[in-house]
Amino acid sequence: MSGDARYALLITLLCAATLTLFALSLTVGPAGIAFADSIMALFSDKADGVALIMQEIRLPRALLGLMIGATLGLSGAVLQGYLRNPLAEPGLLGISATASLGAVLSIYTGLAAAFALALPLAALAGAVVAVVVVQAMAGARGNSLLIILAGIAVSSFAGAMTSLALNLSPNPFAALEIMFWMLGSLTDRSMTHVWLAAPFMLAGWAMLGALGRPLDALTLGSETAASMGVDLKRVQFLAVFGTAASVGAATAVAGAIGFVGLVVPHILRPLVGARPSRLLLASALGGACVVLAADVAVRLIAPGRDLKLGVLTAIVGAPFFLWLVFRARRRLT
């Protein structure tokens, strides 16, 4: 089967899987609603219980799972392609760390209790700060090493400040709330969260999606890519700001969900013939599948306890990494 046909098949399968998991996500919950009833209730305009549950509780959760998963997968693929490093992931730019810091500060200062959208907006503000600092430190046409270093610096600083907030918190309840928020969760998110995150995510996707061809050219190194017509300044801008907008919004709404942006492009890379441009769409779909599946799992495994999404992705992600190490070792020795 030719490369093009294989790619088309992969995308078709991923789309099918995403739709299936989306439907599954809609049907999992304490209210035992039959599948057909639940889908019909999505479109009903009555205000009865089932419709409200489907439209206001299940739908936003499934939508956010889809959007956040796609964001993490896409930005992971872009960053790995841009930095030419398979260990790159969205957190590298420090955006999730500063978004978390913004959210944590809003909880710590009591702003989050004062008005409903304070937390997500504070998280978005944090993401903006990260981007500005990284761009300023790395320069408009910084090389990838500078970007990585700037991102690590910002991440470490934000992490330290978050630990400080936890340390100094006079209120054990606030400390617990901060900790739980940082573990990542989609529980009880509403359509408000969807409308808040959507514009930023769409803007981010538009910026990241435009990088397909430049990333292909970057396979040969930044100088050769520049000689083939790639505008490196534009690529850096789109990669950094696209990640900031989409991942910042995702973190603002759901907390820090790790491993997806790192692992999904890794798994899918051999299946797209390692072409960075093809990896973008595949990773977006793959990321959506992973987050939707994880969110279904947290509700099935421990329906009573609020098992955090970030915990599950870490539990699956870490052993996966061990497996990658073993596989690489077998190939090299």
Binding site: G3, R84, G212, R213, D216, A217, L218, T219, L220, G221, E223, T224, A226, S227, M228, G229, V230, D231, R269, P270, G273, A274, R275, P276
Partner: protein, 261 residues
């Protein structure tokens, strides 16, 4: 037709000036060998022409000033074969070569029949067709070098700049590459290749430009540029000069001065 015209070119890497007031012209039909000791500024010159380094002075490509030129337009005029042979991902050979067509394809357009034909031809000329489906990162150094050269050929530009393209190739492929550059020049294009191998440079280039300390110290036919005096002065070596098969033979023998013979 002048493909490249650089005048008053000054380039500094950090605080250190590398190129000083350099003037260089390359016309269609020329195969220019850029030679000189390490640190003379050969790579710097090539990268300045490509807009990869800031410079003062004027560089005209095909009559157009590069200062205001967009990257994509420049990519249609000059192709670059870098010294670092970087291939970041495990893509098949034909994908690498097809990357050379990118400046010619607008937006998200799919490759055309014409594109595919050019890619096939480039692979044929570089003798890599037999492993077009193999993963590029698993090839030997020399094979990789040929694949990357095929990519530069596929870009199909009037001017080609190559930074040490023969490094790591076996003799037959070195000669094949030099022959190819000669053919490209003969068919109306221009090639500028920086070389360390004086023998190859002498035999195959139509013109040599000798760089030392950021300045051009000699520019002309191989016989004029490569003389015992210039080699002693610039490289500090004694060489054998001869002729075989109608082309000059130059082979460094030993260090000149008290260290050598």
């Amino acid at each position: 037709m002048t493909l490249l015209c650089a005048s008053g070119l000054n380039v500094s890497l950090g605080a250190k000036p590398v190129l000083r007031g350099l003037d260089l012209s390359v016309a269609a039909g020329e195969f220019v060998g850029l030679i000189g000791p390490n640190g003379a500024g050969k790579s710097t010159l090539l990268r300045a022409v490509l807009g990869l380094l800031p410079f003062t002075g004027e560089i005209l490509l095909d009559g157009d000033d590069t200062a205001a030129m967009k990257a994509r337009r420049r990519a249609l005029k000059v192709a670059y074969l870098a010294q670092e042979r970087e291939i970041a991902w495990a893509v098949p050979v034909e994908t690498v070569v097809a990357l050379g067509r990118a400046p010619h394809r607008p937006g998200f357009a799919a490759p055309t029949e014409a594109d595919r034909a050019i890619v096939d031809e480039a692979m044929r000329r570089m003798d890599v067709t037999s492993f077009r489906h193999r993963i590029a990162t698993e090839l030997s150094g020399g094979e990789k070098a040929r694949v990357l050269a095929a990519r530069a050929l596929a870009q199909d530009t009037p001017l080609l700049l190559a930074d040490e393209p023969t490094a790591g190739l076996d003799p037959s492929h070195q000669i094949a590459l030099m022959r190819l550059f000669g053919e490209l020049a003969a068919s109306g294009r221009g090639v500028v290749a920086s070389l360390h191998d004086l023998g190859l440079a002498a035999r195959w280039c139509s013109r040599l430009v000798l760089l030392d300390n950021g300045r051009i110290v000699a520019d002309g036919r191989p016989g004029e540029v490569l003389t015992p005096q210039t080699l002693r002065a610039v490289y500090g070596v004694e060489a054998f000069f001869g002729e075989a098969g109608g082309a000059p033979v130059v082979h460094p023998l030993d260090l000149s001065g008290p260290a050598g013979g």
